[in-house]
Each structure stands twice: as structure tokens, then as C-alpha cells.
């Protein structure tokens, strides 16, 4: 099982690296926001993997907060961009 945990950690780290590169490069604000959303989901996935490793599901509350915060963030940024575009 230890190998599986390392593989999961490596996959998540690689995915987070890709998302961060997109946050740096992203041509538009929406690209950066999308990449940030993916990064947040990756952090939630890491929390779940950590929960499996340690066997305690105490961190589950943070995954719940992640699900709500990602929604609020992306909707807010999308509305801001749309409102700015209308003027």
C-alpha cells in the first residue's frame, strides 16, 4: 500500500504543477481562475488521500469547505469578468 500512496502523491504533485504553470501563463483571467479551481480540487483530492493513509476522516470537513469555496470563487470571478465586459 505504501507504493500506492507514493504513486498517488506523485500524480497529484505533477497535476498541481501543471495547474500552477497554467496559472502563471494563462492568457486571460478566466484561464487563471479555471486553473485555480482545478488546483483547489487537487488539494481536496490530496486531503482525501491523506484521510485514507491515516485512516481518520477528520479532514473531511475541509473537503466539504473546498466544494463550497470553489463554487463561490469561480461564480464570483465569472460574474466580475462578464460585468466588466458589458461596460
Amino acid at each position: 500500500m505504501t507504493i500506492v500512496y507514493w504513486v498517488c502523491g506523485a500524480l497529484l504533485a505533477l497535476a498541481a504543477g501543471c495547474a500552477i504553470v497554467r496559472i502563471f501563463r494563462g492568457p486571460s483571467l478566466l484561464d487563471r481562475m479555471l486553473a485555480t479551481d482545478v488546483l483547489l480540487v487537487i488539494v481536496g483530492s490530496a486531503l482525501l488521500v491523506h484521510a485514507v493513509i491515516t485512516g481518520s476522516l477528520v479532514n473531511l470537513v475541509f473537503v466539504l469547505v473546498m466544494a463550497i469555496a470553489g463554487f463561490l470563487g469561480s461564480v464570483t470571478v465569472a460574474r466580475t469578468v462578464a460585468a466588466r465586459e458589458q461596460r
Binding site: 497535476a15 495547474a19 486553473a35 483530492s45 482525501l48 466544494a67 463554487f71 465586459e85
Partner: protein
Amino acid sequence: MSPADWSTVRDVAVAVLLVLGCLMSLAAGIGLLRFPDLLSRMHAATKPQVLGLLCLLAAAALAAGQWAWVPVLVLIWILQLLTAPVSAHMVGRAAYRSKHLKEHMLVVDDLADVVRRAEEADAETAPGTETTRALDG
């Protein structure tokens, strides 16, 4: 089968679900880097949000081995299922409105027709004013 066998089966299932869920995250990361415009990147970004999260939540439920946590896990997944389409819709609409897409890559563009007709209707009623009212609906 003996309890030890079942424990092995559970471990293998947890391992497969974990790696699958993490692979979804990696697919989203690679898609974010490789895809050319915002709409195709949005397509890649939804993979870990729904299927990847489902795999990892199932792995956590199996590893915990008690029913008490299952409602919380189901709540997380349902919240994500409800909110991901809403935010994707908002982002897609903002992208279309601010022209952050490569229009020659679209196969079907239903919205262009609606926008054109709304602009024509606006031009008939009030000439010289350009609005994007069709996108608000």
C-alpha cells in the same frame, strides 16, 4: 472467504480507486497545459471535479469501513455535482461574452445565431444602439 481475504480485496479496491482518482487530477493538469483555448480547457478541468472526486470519496469510504461517514461523503459529492455545472455555465458564458475562444474551432455555434437575431431586433427598434441582451437570458 476468510476475513483476511476480504481485507486484501478491500485494500486492492482502495488502491485502484486512489490511483484512478489521482490519474483524473493528472489528466486535468495535462489538459490545462495542452489544450488551446478556454472552452476545451474547461472540458479537461471537469474530470477531477466529478469522477476523480467520486473515486477518492469511494476509496475513503472503503478505507474507513464504517457507515457513519458515508452521508458526509455523499453530501460532498452531491454538492460538487450541483455546483460544478453552475460554475461551468457561468465561466462559459463569460468566456463567450469576452471572446476568449477560438471561433474557427467550434463545430456548432448555436449562440451566434441567437445573438445575431437579437442584434437585428435591437437595430430595428433602436438604430445605432448595440446591446448584448441576448446573452443575459
